[in-house]
Symmetry: C2
Subunit: 381 residues, 2 copies
């Protein structure tokens, strides 16, 4: 199989991840932080070190601010549901948000009555229209701003720094979804980012089962998921301190061990090298695919605003039909459909096309994989 669905989850993982999982399972997959025996403490040490690796990756000074969750979706639910709202809360989102944000805010908007406002885009390029955004912020001051760092549909790298520095002028709380970026693009958390949500199993190359968020805000986040924490058990409230306040349930030590190993692998490769290689692959894929007839690429305007993900349409097939042909006839795995990101399809006019065909490139892809895809699409011209 030529695997080109890395935006969904990276596959395969580094060999170190498989080794770490096997070792964790056999040696210390006990209930970390809840037992006072050495094996439980060993498990806890692995969790602590994993927190430190994430903190180090985003230059967060205190690893206690790294909250581990079962997924980025749950982390975003914890953030979004943990914030206070009323009927005139000014909530802005980019039009590139994932349903983990869109559906969660939609539910809250129905409860509280606030409006979810999309950041404006330039009508020709679909880039965030910063000038118009500033105008709108001046009229309706932002309370919360949600930005998906890299679109999982078009690979557009959003200018979150500019957006957040503008919204911070109104003391907005800024939330960055790095599911498609952390591990590829260097991100240093600073005072403009209040919450940074991350997925382990995408560009951090862990198994599915662990994600989380970095808490970098003065705002109080109510615990959303409550339960046992192995501490203060007689207290009906969650513990007051980070990260335990947001970490109910037995830690998923095996998934966390996989993240521990993948973060060490990533460090040994270097984010700069991952970016360089994925950028090279992305450009190569764009170049090859752009020469194929009947293919319409749905690319960001500027090359430097683009990484990892390439969506396209085919004149003769729906996205789903083409994905099936690529799978059955060429053993190439791509993704088809709306990719759990609803708003963007209005921009790029792919609501009626049943979405797009998506190529998600990973660090383990090669130019040969792209050649195979290009050859298959050429055969189908």
């Amino acid at each position: 199989m030529i695997y080109l669905d890395n935006a969904a989850t990276t596959f395969p993982k580094p060999e170190q991840v498989y080794d770490a999982v096997n070792k964790a399972q056999r040696q210390y997959a006990v209930n970390a932080g809840r037992g006072s025996y050495r094996t439980a403490r060993k498990a806890n040490d692995v969790i602590k070190e994993t927190r430190e690796l994430i903190a180090d990756l985003v230059r967060c000074p205190d690893s206690k601010n790294v909250v581990l969750s079962p997924s980025a979706t749950i982390a975003l639910n914890q953030i979004i549901n943990g914030l206070p709202y009323d009927n005139d809360t000014a909530v802005y989102v980019s039009p590139y948000e994932h349903n983990a944000v869109v559906r969660t805010l939609h539910r809250l908007s129905e409860i509280y009555g606030f409006t979810v406002r999309q950041l404006p885009v330039l009508s020709n390029t679909f880039e965030i229209d910063i000038d118009e955004m500033k105008n709108r912020f001046a009229v309706v001051h932002p309370d919360y701003v949600y930005v998906n760092h890299v679109s999982n549909v078009t690979g557009y790298i959003l200018p979150y720094k500019t957006i957040f520095s503008e919204s911070k002028k109104y003391n907005a709380v800024n939330i960055l979804d790095t599911a498609q970026s952390l591990g590829v693009i260097d991100i240093a958390i600073d005072s403009d980012i209040d919450f940074l949500a991350f997925a382990g199993h995408k560009n951090l190359y862990s198994n599915i089962g662990v994600g989380g968020f970095v808490y970098n805000s003065k705002i109080e986040l109510k615990p959303f998921i409550t339960g046992g924490t192995g501490s203060n058990s007689l207290d009906p409230e969650m513990p007051a301190s980070l990260p335990g306040k947001y970490e109910a349930a037995s830690p998923d030590i095996v998934a966390i061990a996989s993240l521990n190993a993948s973060l060490k692998w990533l460090r040994s490769v270097g984010i700069g090298e991952v970016y360089r290689y994925k950028k090279e692959l992305t450009e190569y894929a764009v170049e090859r695919l752009s020469k194929i007839n009947k293919i319409q690429l749905l690319l960001p305007e500027q090359n430097e605003e683009h990484i990892s993900v390439i969506s396209f349409l085919h004149e003769d097939y729906t996205p789903n039909e083409l994905a099936e042909i690529l799978d059955m006839d060429f053993d190439i795995a791509v993704r088809s459909g709306y990719h759990c990101a609803p708003y963007v399809h209005k921009l790029i006019s792919t609501e009626d096309t049943l979405g797009t065909v998506r190529v998600g490139l990973g660090y383990f892809n090669t130019k040969n994989d792209i050649d195979r895809l290009a050859e298959a699409l050429t055969e189908l011209e």
Copy 2:
């Protein structure tokens, strides 16, 4: 290490679980149900089969009613937060509930203003006082009744059938937490059980990372965690149908594959045999420990109401001190503290003792393990 903390998580897992994890990771750990390529469908088939294995285990006629979640804690959060409440909702809980229930209901009781009522117990045996419960149900008709099937502190097997058949006379919604029972005690879901929450990593012997609930109710449960489902992506609402309505985020295929393997292992052993063996071990442990000086066992009154878990106190050491000695001097892993179950400690007078020492027996324990514990405790007499 003599591992006696199986009530926290079973360890080790059957060898089949490790094999299944390795195979899933290397062969099909892609984004199940979201890709239209064969490997994604293979992953989806494993998930579907796992749902069927759970349905089969509890004799649920439709496996679509089996919702998979990252943990029993999250499953309980989904149930508890998904139900409707107002300020006079009559919520009853057993005094043996875990903080996944206690803290979650506490938070909601603060929002809605309802009272959480504990089911009454007999003052001498701490068994549920069924007669008094009937009286209270007659006065304040139950809307919701939460029962932890087996106490994770004392190993008491609660008479959920009697409780639920009484509460159903008032059309209560009944929620059974089987974290400590499913896989040990045969449970057939029937119309008296509306929701059955389960943990994979305890008595079902999967890795941590998967639990869930069986939806067996006519009551509507609002989705609590929202996000991408790989379906209906343009719709800001979660899909209407089970199980997708409650399954946001990429399925944790590796953890689910571990549950798939462990359920097949469990089926090959047989629940009856697991029960028989664990009962034998439990009785043997009680017999051995009851002969040791300075140990006070905190047991259910009736032998037939007891399985898997034995809590005790020591005259000379706090629970934590004793657990540390057992670990450091004898390489025996037991748990100390309150075990995330707040109410029960008032009953058994272990609030001021800093909780209990807990022995959690698993299917892979042997009488020799218990002998080693008994010998260690005898040395400390």
